[in-house]
Amino acid sequence: MEIKPPVPQIPAPIWRNIKDLQEWEQTHQRRPEGDKHSQLFESVTEGIHSFPGGFVVTTVADAFLNWARKSSVWPVTFGLACCAIEMMATFASRFDVERLGMVPWASPRHSDLMVVSGTVTIKMAPMLERIYDQMPDPKWAVSMGSCANSGGPFRHGYHVVKGVDRVIPVDVYVPGCPPPPESLLNGLLLLQDQIAHFRKTGRRALPNPKVD
């Protein structure tokens, strides 16, 4: 199985002496150029953009599509460990993500966002990848909690993937063990901000210095 190229948004780790972090840097060089099915759309926008005055159309289209995308991010209900409890609390009425346009949906084929909430074991990683592959593009992933970010306390266990970004590309990392619902909400808002900065309808945005 092929390792998906990772996210560029993560700053380089400062602990350069640690061996497996260097290895981590090597494995995580680039992320794919945009999404699989956006290529055609991207070339069409590219074409419009080359016309004189075409930038007006593409910019407006970008703004409109990004607004539409960020206002209806549907997370797939996918819980792995104790972080899933906090995720459920976030989805429930008290913290209420539906006011952000997020409807927790029980099918990956209708979802745009996967919140990886909890420890990803080596045995679970192929299933996670499979569910992620079933989601239509454009899709996003939020890594929630220490275990999904880096392996957390189980990093040196024999059975844990050292960060879910070795399996799928991740857009937002939410720290915490587990992150409280407020943290996850902040992460989801950051994700919406990232989506709002998509360019050329499909290319992932660079991190916004104002929010990161």
């Binding site: 497996d20 080596i122 990683a125 040196h156 024999y158 059975h159 844990v160 993937v161 070795r166 399996v167």
Partner: protein, 160 residues
């Protein structure tokens, strides 16, 4: 059956086994503790059958193993007589480099998954086990992770 009666019976039948080797013997210290019996490997199944029939230990609690590095593996099983509150902790050293052990499944059916897990984690080959496959790890896993010789950060491509 009290704890003392059980110990006497074990000493009578398995005279070579070490009963409560270095454990404290005062009544307060032994309250609620199991009788620790250290056996030779060839007595493993015979002792389980004896404990089930004679001592009334019909409840198989758990089975596991310990890796004592160059001294080899040690198999541990705990069985209980729930009627009288007597527990027996069976231990047997397999010896250095040995990974074969008789299975307890003919005596206790509940030992089946425990021994599969033990095989999974320690690589102990239980002879007489009906279905010795990996229990928790995937079938293509290399090695047995709870052995001391298994390196902590053993890579497992493509995920780590």
């Amino acid at each position: 059956m009290t704890r003392e009666q059980a110990k006497a019976l074990i000493g009578e039948r398995f005279s070579s086994a070490q009963v409560d080797g270095d454990a404290p013997t005062s009544a307060e210290a032994t309250a609620g503790r199991p009788i620790v019996v250290t056996l030779a490997v060839d007595q493993w199944t015979a002792f389980a059958l004896f404990a089930k029939t004679t001592l009334g230990c019909r409840f198989f609690s758990f089975s596991s193993a310990v890796d004592w590095k160059e001294q080899g593996l040690e198999v541990v099983a705990r069985i209980d007589n729930l009627d009288d509150g007597v527990g027996v902790m069976m231990k047997a050293r397999l010896g250095p480099g040995v990974s074969a052990c008789p299975s307890l499944v003919p005596v206790f059916r509940g030992a089946e998954w425990m021994e599969r897990e033990c095989y999974d984690m320690f690589g102990i080959q239980f002879e007489g086990h009906p279905d010795l496959r990996r229990m928790l790890l995937s079938d293509d896993w290399q090695g047995h992770p709870l052995l001391k010789s298994y390196a902590v950060d053993t890579p497992h491509p493509p995920y780590r």
